[in-house]
């Protein structure tokens, strides 16, 4: 092969000038483009707001790369942001795998990497060792799964649960694992364990199987696109038992896809609810709707929060060098975000309370709050 692309490296460093470059390495095309796009929209909205005042007179500049929902492209994109654009920090990616593909590059190039929605524990912590440069804004999986299991056992006295997971998603698998552990510890039995892959549309065959296992509760940790279809088809198949999921459900689209009636008797754990009366949440939802003409989903909310998490760290660091930002990020404490009060623990994972929400005729209603 012959090279032809060797230009000399990009100009401009992260420290100089009056802008701070932040990279976003997200899924803008490919299989899970909708997740990445929501995340970026959240980020962009937050950047706009932050830049109204700036941070110590500096503005944030977002440099986006598209990783095509592909790990190889994510590596490539991270390298571009690190060595070409010389950003001060990278936000990304929306999914765990594409985040994992960037961890080593962030570490090698000494750049903070924050994933808004990558929930795999390995991202921040590999083999018992914390990844110094890597942070996240979302829950890690075990918490939500445990909350759901306890809810099933306590509220419904459920003894025979079914679990239906998205195998393409670490998030879904992580939640399910925690659910199963706590649920069996509570004395329940998992009577059916089924799986699907993101982007499937027809779940009737598997639901028929679940139905014949006669569960009294179904745990369905997945994202709203499939969950909506599953709940709809489950109700059509005559499965009337309570169904519960996590924050991946949270989107007004869920109600549109499944229909309000099908969603009756379903529950989710969430750190945020678009219906939440909290003014912080309401302001965000309004601003988002005004800018994009759609209601934000969880990916958008966490993208938005990630921008504020970063801005807060830069402000506290008083200096936009990656090293300082990293140190400040690790010390994040009681930061009020749309998704709740966030404190990063020593694993670089946020600790925040969860709410349990219930769907009633297409509306989310508050059920209860659980602290970690």
């Amino acid at each position: 092969g012959c090279g032809g692309a060797e230009k000399s490296g990009g100009s401009g460093g992260s420290g100089g000038g009056d802008t701070i470059k932040i990279g976003a390495n997200m899924e803008l095309s490919g299989g899970v483009a909708s997740y990445g796009q929501s995340g970026v929209q959240g980020l962009e909205l937050a950047f706009e707001e932050i830049n109204k005042e700036g941070i110590d007179g500096k503005k944030l500049e977002l440099v986006k790369v598209d990783n095509k929902s592909d790990a190889a492209e994510a590596t490539n994109g991270a390298l571009k942001l690190a060595t070409q654009d010389k950003v001060a920090a990278i936000v990304g990616a929306a999914t765990s795998t594409n985040t994992l593909a960037q961890v080593q590059i962030a570490t090698d190039n000494k750049l903070p990497l924050i994933t808004p929605t990558g929930t795999n524990p390995d991202i921040t912590n590999k083999g018992g060792k914390v990844n110094d440069w890597v942070f996240r804004t979302c829950f890690i999986d075990p918490f939500q799964g445990t909350v759901a299991a306890n809810f099933a056992s306590d509220k419904f006295k459920s003894k025979n649960a079914a679990v239906f997971i998205d195998t393409a998603s670490d998030y879904s698998k992580g939640l399910a694992k925690a659910f199963k552990e706590s649920y069996t510890k509570n004395g329940g039995k998992i009577v059916a364990e089924e799986a699907y892959v993101a982007k499937d549309t027809d779940f009737r065959a598997t639901l028929t199987r679940i139905k014949s296992a006669k569960p009294d509760f179904i745990f369905l940790p997945g994202y709203y696109e499939e969950v909506g279809l599953i709940v709809k088809q489950a109700r059509e198949a005559g499965i009337d038992v309570p169904i519960m999921g996590g924050d991946g459900w949270d989107s007004p689209k869920l109600v549109e896809i499944a229909g309000g009636k099908a969603l009756n008797n379903t529950f989710i754990t969430n750190h945020y609810s678009a219906a939440d009366k909290d003014p912080k949440v309401q302001d965000f939802v309004k601003a988002y709707e005004a800018k994009y003409n759609e209601t934000p989903d969880g990916f958008a909310a966490l993208g938005y929060d990630t921008a504020y998490l970063l801005a807060d760290a830069i402000k506290r660091a008083g200096d936009a060098s990656p090293e300082k930002i990293k140190e400040a990020l690790a010390e994040t404490k009681d930061l009020a975000l749309v998704s709740g009060q966030v404190t990063l623990n020593e694993q670089h994972d946020p600790i925040k309370p969860a709410s349990i929400l219930k769907y009633e005729d297409g509306k989310q209603t508050f059920d209860s709050k659980v602290n970690p």
Binding site: S29, A205, D297
Partner: protein, 292 residues
Amino acid sequence: MELIQQLINGISLGSIYALIALGYTMVYGIVKLINFAHGDVFMVGAFVGFYSITILDLTFFPALLLTMAVTALFGVIIERIAYKPLRNATRIAALITAIGVSLLIEYGFIYFRGAQPEAYPADVLPTEKISILGVSINSQSIFILLTSVVLMIILQFVVHKTKIGKAMRAVSFDAEAARLMGINVNNTISATFAIGSALAGAAGVIFGIYYSKIEPLMGIIPGLKAFVAAVLGGIGIIPGAMVGGLLLGVVESLVSAAGYSLWRDAVAFIVLILILIFLPSGLFGKNRREKV
């Protein structure tokens, strides 16, 4: 009982595949082009239907007809711009263009409206849950099955009995000889694309109503499945696409029913390969040895 329920699940899934595969196999049979953009025309149809129902406030049938008209036109435009210049190129070159067109439709669509899904309103077509002896059938799936059977019959009739159908088959077999019969080759091919794309559009609307969720990349997998169904039944053979689609649906359902839902597509492909090994031109393809 569960087995019967699963067979019914499979048939309703399969009739969706069949619906998409009908237009696919027609274009494929006549134009000899693997039109990878067919799945994307299907997607466009789903969105056109969605907008005509939600924005234009149309009811089901007008929305369906409008969609079919729009996608027919869309198909013809695609053909004229992207495929016509490649009439004399190799098939594989045309295939690459089709892949390009497919990507362009998907990402052009995402560029203009984002990748987020949309949901069809629930009340476009009445849904009735029919239960017989513990087996439940959704009235919509009966509707879909009937629609695909009717479309299959119409299509078969059009291609085999009408003048335009004969012109299509003549062009497909030998375009130059067809010109000597006085057939306008360009118009005939456009008509083929128009019919195929209208069918894809119709499938899109029906899919949208049945599953409610639509999104810009929704055409990829059904498009692939329809291609598989078309090949399984024998390229260009209209009843073959129908049977191929149903078979695919049933196989997938039975695999899921056995608890191997994650292996579903793999098993479907294994069945496909095995069938092809024994019937190298598909289920209904005439296994005609090349005359030397």
